[in-house]
């Protein structure tokens, strides 16, 4: 009843139905593409904002020295070429000729040097500073050359230079990076520039005619700020936005059941570079006992989580890397679901149900703990499935879902938790020093589970200084093996990234390259017959 009314209210006007989205059109410039995001960026200087909303917009405006191509190899972005010295400690970047900022000012190596100084400045307090602090010396022999030297060879160095968005020195010099108006009125060098930012409503980008990489096809990118996911989906159904990320239920249940949506939307599915896990606070008893951690791992049915929560749109993993990439150790297999083995391990660790209440005890204390997670439906559901499986083997689990900001400040930063269900989104370099190295346990740092394993520490240190790709791969395969054996976390699933895109957006690389569906988006185009009326686009 309700569903009928809602869909009827959102039927597009009949004129739109006559558009033929199946036809092939030649690439043409112009048009407006409308997207949506749930959170508004705090600013567009990514090194300060450090949030995904900021990155999503800023990456259209700024360039880095390097970028990843379709097959995830590094290529020049602002840099035309780069050379690595024989001792592997110095990298020399050559910039492309005649680079300019969107305001016409030339872009030179001085801007790069300025950006590096800014990111390592203590006053900037950038969460990404650590990579760049390892640079011992940076210099600019001429306007097109930027040279950095490290104390010792640093394997993730090149990757790090693909992550640093270069900012214009002539506009930012002498300004306080935290309060500068530039964060809301940026001038960049990439395909787009900021047009209008309506607070809480939308951010409009238009094509940068002076783009260092040549012109993009689509004229305007509008990103609407719609905090609620279901409201976003209503807007997608009403054809008021062109693209959004989907959850498994929308992807495999709702859209397929609606022919009018299927007719207008292309759906994309790609394995993301992220995974969901259950992490133990290793400083709390009894999680310091490897038998307990393993028992819990055996007791959790990961396939059930993938089927029930992700509707099959996930993969069971055994190493903290995207399956199928060179860093992922294919020889490892996940802990199978085996309740009997779990019970035996717990018995070995001294947990016995002495009072026949169904809950195990050790030293008179029942085995009970709390799983905390942020308010993310998939994670909450996973926690409920885990809770049930652990009850089967005699562990009493409580679940608590907490809003993100207080989740981080009150529980993660203070280490005041037993078990978390969370996810890691990973970069392309295999270095995971900041997540697993024992030195990274200060409040706010990423090793909040308190993992401390000298073997892992050594492997991580080796991996950072080894530049030979094959040797480096072996190091990370060994790292994943030790990690799996030691079981500081339980891998739950690597989920697929699911995207809906209106069929009016054409030129999307097919099949999806390793770099993802968003790759080469400057070549996307909207054929004139398929465009919205300009009024409805606003």
């Amino acid at each position: 009843m309700l569903s009928l009314c809602l869909s009827a209210c959102n039927q597009p006007p009949p004129t739109k139905a006559t558009k033929d989205y199946a036809a092939r059109y030649p690439s043409v410039a112009g048009g407006t593409m409308i997207g949506a995001m749930t959170a508004e960026p705090s600013g567009l200087i990514y090194m300060v904002a450090g949030e995904s909303a900021s990155a999503a917009i800023a990456s259209n405006i700024f360039n880095a020295l390097l970028k990843y191509n379709a097959t995830l190899d590094l290529e020049g972005d602002l840099a035309e070429s780069w050379t690595i010295s024989d001792d592997q400690k110095t990298i020399t970047f050559k910039l492309k000729p005649n680079l300019t900022w969107a305001d016409g000012h030339p872009l030179t190596s001085a801007d790069v040097l300025f950006t590096w100084k800014l990111v390592i400045d203590e006053k900037t307090r950038s969460p990404y500073a650590s990579d760049y602090q390892l640079v011992k010396k940076a210099e600019t022999p001429d306007a097109f050359t930027f040279k950095v030297s490290y104390d010792q060879a640093y394997a993730p160095a090149l990757d790090s230079w693909s992550g640093l968005q270069i900012l214009p020195a002539h506009l930012l010099k002498g300004q306080d990076i935290h309060t500068t108006a530039f964060a809301r009125k940026p001038v960049g060098s990439n395909y787009y520039q900021l047009d209008v930012w309506k607070n809480g409503e939308n951010i409009q980008l238009s094509r940068n005619t002076k783009s260092v990489l040549g012109p993009a096809q689509i004229d305007k990118l509008i990103t609407r700020i719609i905090p609620d996911n279901s409201a976003q989906f209503l807007e997608l159904m009403a054809d008021n936005i062109d693209t959004m990320g989907l959850d498994p239920i929308k992807y495999s249940r709702i859209i397929p059941s609606r022919p009018e949506l299927q007719k207008n939307l292309n759906l994309y599915k790609e394995l993301g570079n992220s995974y969901t896990y259950m992490g133990f606070n290793l400083k709390h008893k009894p999680f310091d006992d490897i038998r307990v951690r393993k028992a819990i791992n055996y007791a959790i049915d990961k396939q059930e989580i993938i089927d029930g929560v992700y509707l099959g749109l996930g993969i069971n993993i055994a190493s903290p890397y995207k399956p199928g990439t060179r860093w992922s150790n294919a020889a490892l297999s996940p802990y199978p679901y085996d309740a009997q083995k779990a019970k035996a391990l717990l018995k070995e660790a001294g947990f016995i149900d002495t009072n026949s209440d169904g809950i195990l005890e050790r030293d008179g204390k029942p085995f009970a703990f709390e799983i905390i997670t942020n308010q993310n439906k998939e994670r909450e559901k996973s926690a409920v499935l885990i809770q049930r499986r652990l009850k089967d083997i005699g562990i009493d689990v409580k679940i608590r879902a907490i809003e993100w900001a207080s989740f981080i400040s009150r529980f993660i930063k203070t280490g005041d938790f037993d078990v978390v269900v969370l996810g890691w989104g990973l970069g392309l370099d295999p270095d995971q020093y900041s997540i697993w190295h024992s030195s990274q346990q200060a409040p706010g740092q990423f090793n909040f589970i308190g993992y401390n394993n000298p073997t892992i520490d050594k492997l991580l240190e080796q991996g950072r200084t080894e530049l030979d790709p094959d040797k480096r791969m072996n190091i990370y395969h060994e790292f994943a093996k030790v990690l799996l054996e030691d079981c500081p976390i339980v891998y739950l699933s690597a989920g697929y990234g699911l995207t809906a895109m209106h069929k009016r957006i054409q030129g999307i690389v097919d099949p999806i390259p390793p770099a993802g569906v968003g790759y080469d988006s400057h070549k996307w185009y909207i054929p004139e017959p398929l465009r919205r009326n300009e009024i409805s686009a606003q």
């Binding site: 279901s230 209503l234 409920v384 608590r400």
Partner: protein, 279 residues
């Protein structure tokens, strides 16, 4: 309350309707373990988000749990929270209102200013703030709702005490040497019961709403325990598709709150001589 008063109250058709609604919901909630077709926490990943059918009368939720069973068990939580929270707020309200109305003077000033301060804070936000510092659980929710909604009762009781204290039978009793406690418990309080009962019944309605609101925001009853509020949250995401997850808990909250309001209003009409005379 005397039998004829109850009779009078229930002769009011609205009050009778409210009473029947509440009674039905109570019976359903009490019998939940017996009449639920399924275990409310029983997960079935092969039956996710099924629509209403003969097998699942109210469909299933995002983990394949039977919505009808969860609704019945959730009803227990909602009603329990409503009753206990109102019990707490009424007890506090009577105590403070009696103190203020009986002793007057600085005690009255102090308590009434406290009431003013509490009333000046929007109660839902106060509750949100308090819950954010505590662990959300049924017990905490009941206590917090109780501790933040006693002000109305305090004012009522104080006003009743102030007016009753001037009446002849109280004055007479006082002259005959009755002690404070005797005056309060045998004369003042029993004669103030009417407005207290009415306000308590209406209070249950707002406590049920409050609990649903908190659970909807994820600050109330925690998974896997069901309550109408958190079934509604689960449904929010799929409202265009799985309407049964929004409709049924929404209706349950609506009907319960309506029931309590009808009963409360009806009782007021029946028991209060000032408003009852014109019926």
């Amino acid at each position: 309350m005397r039998i004829d008063v109850i009779k009078k109250a229930l002769s009011n058709p609205l009050a009778l309707a409210g009473f029947i609604i509440i009674l039905t919901i109570f019976l359903l909630a009490m019998l939940a373990p017996v009449i639920s077709p399924y275990d409310p926490d029983e997960i079935n990943v092969k039956a996710i988000l099924l629509g209403p059918s003969w097998i699942h009368w109210m469909g299933t939720d995002g983990l394949g749990r039977d919505v009808l069973s969860r609704m019945l068990h959730g009803g227990r939580i909602s009603l329990l929270v409503g009753l206990v929270a109102v019990g707490i707020s009424t007890a506090i309200g009577i105590l403070l209102g009696a103190l203020a109305g009986y002793y007057r003077g600085w005690v009255d000033t102090l308590i009434m200013r406290l009431v003013d301060i509490m009333l000046s804070i929007p109660s839902f936000f106060l509750i949100l703030a308090v819950i954010a510092f505590l662990t959300p659980s049924i017990i905490n929710i009941m206590i917090v709702i109780g501790l933040t909604s006693w002000m109305g009762v305090t004012r009522l009781v104080r006003a009743e005490f102030l007016s009753l204290a001037e009446r002849e039978f109280v004055q007479a009793s006082r002259t005959l040497g009755a002690k404070d406690m005797r005056l309060i418990f045998t004369h003042l309080l029993p004669n103030s019961l009417t407005p207290i009962i009415v306000s308590a019944v209406l209070g249950v309605a707002s406590a049920v709403l409050m609990e649903s609101g908190l659970s909807f925001l994820g600050l109330g009853v925690q998974a896997p325990q069901s309550s109408w509020g958190n079934i509604l949250t689960d449904g929010k995401e799929y409202i265009q598709f799985a309407w049964w997850l929004s409709l049924y808990p929404g209706m349950a909250i609506l009907i319960t709150v309506l029931g309590y309001n009808l009963l409360g209003e009806g009782l007021r009409d029946a028991l209060d001589p000032r408003s009852g005379s014109n019926r």
